[in-house]
Subunit: 169 residues, 4 copies
């Protein structure tokens, strides 16, 4: 990550035991504004964060010069987003690092991570609210495996998923 | 029940092992038409009926003379409802029998029944889609208890819930 | 007409000088319930009835036995429609008289009548709200022609359109 | 104006004879994105621009550093706005010049200008679609007065309203 808004940096290791909803967006993406972020906001308000933790991830892959940290901060303030926001990091590619490692096609994308830190579902575009609720309900009912090693490990450098080391994503 | 449309009568005993969504309505109830029945239709389409069985229950407690079986059949046809519809039975009270036994306040009401035949949730009015999805997801993840006796037994005469005997509700 | 609900019978002659919105519907028509009648209700509330008079017309052409006057009265009460409702009359055809004479394809249909009693617009299905507003705005700005004879006379037997004689529609 | 996107600068004098809808917005204003700009887009598509000319006006009064011309251009491109956009000009006040002269309270605001170049209506917040349509319909029906001098002249420095000189607003 190149930074965080509204909350201290966390790693997936620290969130082990919770269900995590990672909502990736760009502040100038119409679908993110129209349905992706409002749905993330509803999930954030519908479940205790100790059960379901919602994290926004700003994965800018175009118009980089006008979607920097200051612009994002104004956007988050105006839209009154209430969950923590991580900022994906760029190296030599317009597509940022975490977005590439999660193999996301674009924005908005929603990634659900189970209590053991594994990716349970990844969806591009509108996520049907009933289906999302059902996925979350299933994941909440499953108990974390004591000492489980993720069978489908989350990729390195992911915003909230690097166990045992600082979030450098 | 005084009858069924679109499907053979079933009992809750026959549906044991499935999650059941019972959507109670009146054909002239605006909230039922605007949000209750459309949500039931979306659940019916979103899950295999062997996982989640949706059943409509026509619980008429007013305007009885214009919401009889023929009127209901025309309504169900025009609105293209696809799930089975049971018709609640009247005795000496304008409020029909099953509606009373389930202690429902009015229409629309949604009753969720778990795989063991127990009432897991009962809600009057609009059911938030995310919350309904989460409830269904939880119930689907729970396995039916072999030989379980319901701890909160469904009331007698309920449309789909009388174990071991024909549905006389 | 075979009758009226919520208001005394009127003729188009009596409404000369006003813009009239005639909203035709059937109580079991999903499109009428979802958008036709709500739009008529919004027009009724948005303009003084001395400027724009909204009249509902129940043009039943199917399921006649369950959409009679009593059923309609219950429907109008439950949906809290606030404008007068005329009931189209049947003779030897399932399609009622006024609906035929106005050459309406089905329900919902919206007919706009100008201050001189002429049909200004007739639309089947959803009427774009912006376009409807613009039509009404145009018609309101036009002054009625003193002593004008309608060039496109409204058909006989129409609920509100028979000049000089009682509404026998 | 400090500039234009999507279209050559115009003055109200050049638009005399047309109805003009001026939609003021900020790109990070949630209400503008949710309802103000979509409504302007619908008006732009519903009427020939020789009848009704829609012009967006970017009236930034906060977060100036992240809502500059480049950011606006990316926004307009992503949201596929199809009408010309003028950029309001700042002097020594965070509130831009035209916004002050039109005495607008905030964004979104909608200003309707009649065929004679006079302000016919100015509204802050959501503009009911039916009412907006009716206003436009009325204004379209009125003929421009030959040689009319505006009785309620549009303020100086307005984006599209300075007759006889370049648009310096």
């Amino acid at each position: 990550m190149s930074g965080w808004l509204q909350g201290l940096p966390v790693t997936l290791a620290e969130l082990r035991g919770r269900v995590v909803m990672l909502e990736t967006f760009q502040m100038l993406c119409p679908g993110c504004v129209a349905y992706g972020l409002p749905l993330a906001q509803r999930v954030h308000r519908s479940f205790p964060s100790t059960d379901v933790t919602v994290i926004g991830l700003h994965t800018v892959f175009e118009h980089h010069d006008v979607m920097g940290r200051d612009a994002l901060a104004a956007f988050v303030s105006e839209y009154q987003l209430e969950f923590p926001i991580a900022i994906d990091r760029h190296e030599n590619d317009p597509v940022p690092v975490t977005m590439q490692r999660y193999q996301l096609r674009g924005t908005p994308s929603t990634v659900l991570i189970d209590r053991d830190g594994r990716i349970a579902h990844s969806a591009f575009g509108a996520f049907d609210e009933l289906a999302l609720g059902a996925q979350i309900g299933r994941l909440l009912t499953e108990h974390p495996t004591p000492g489980a090693a993720p069978t489908q490990p989350a990729p390195h450098d992911a915003p909230v998923c690097e166990p045992g080391r600082p979030c450098v994503g």
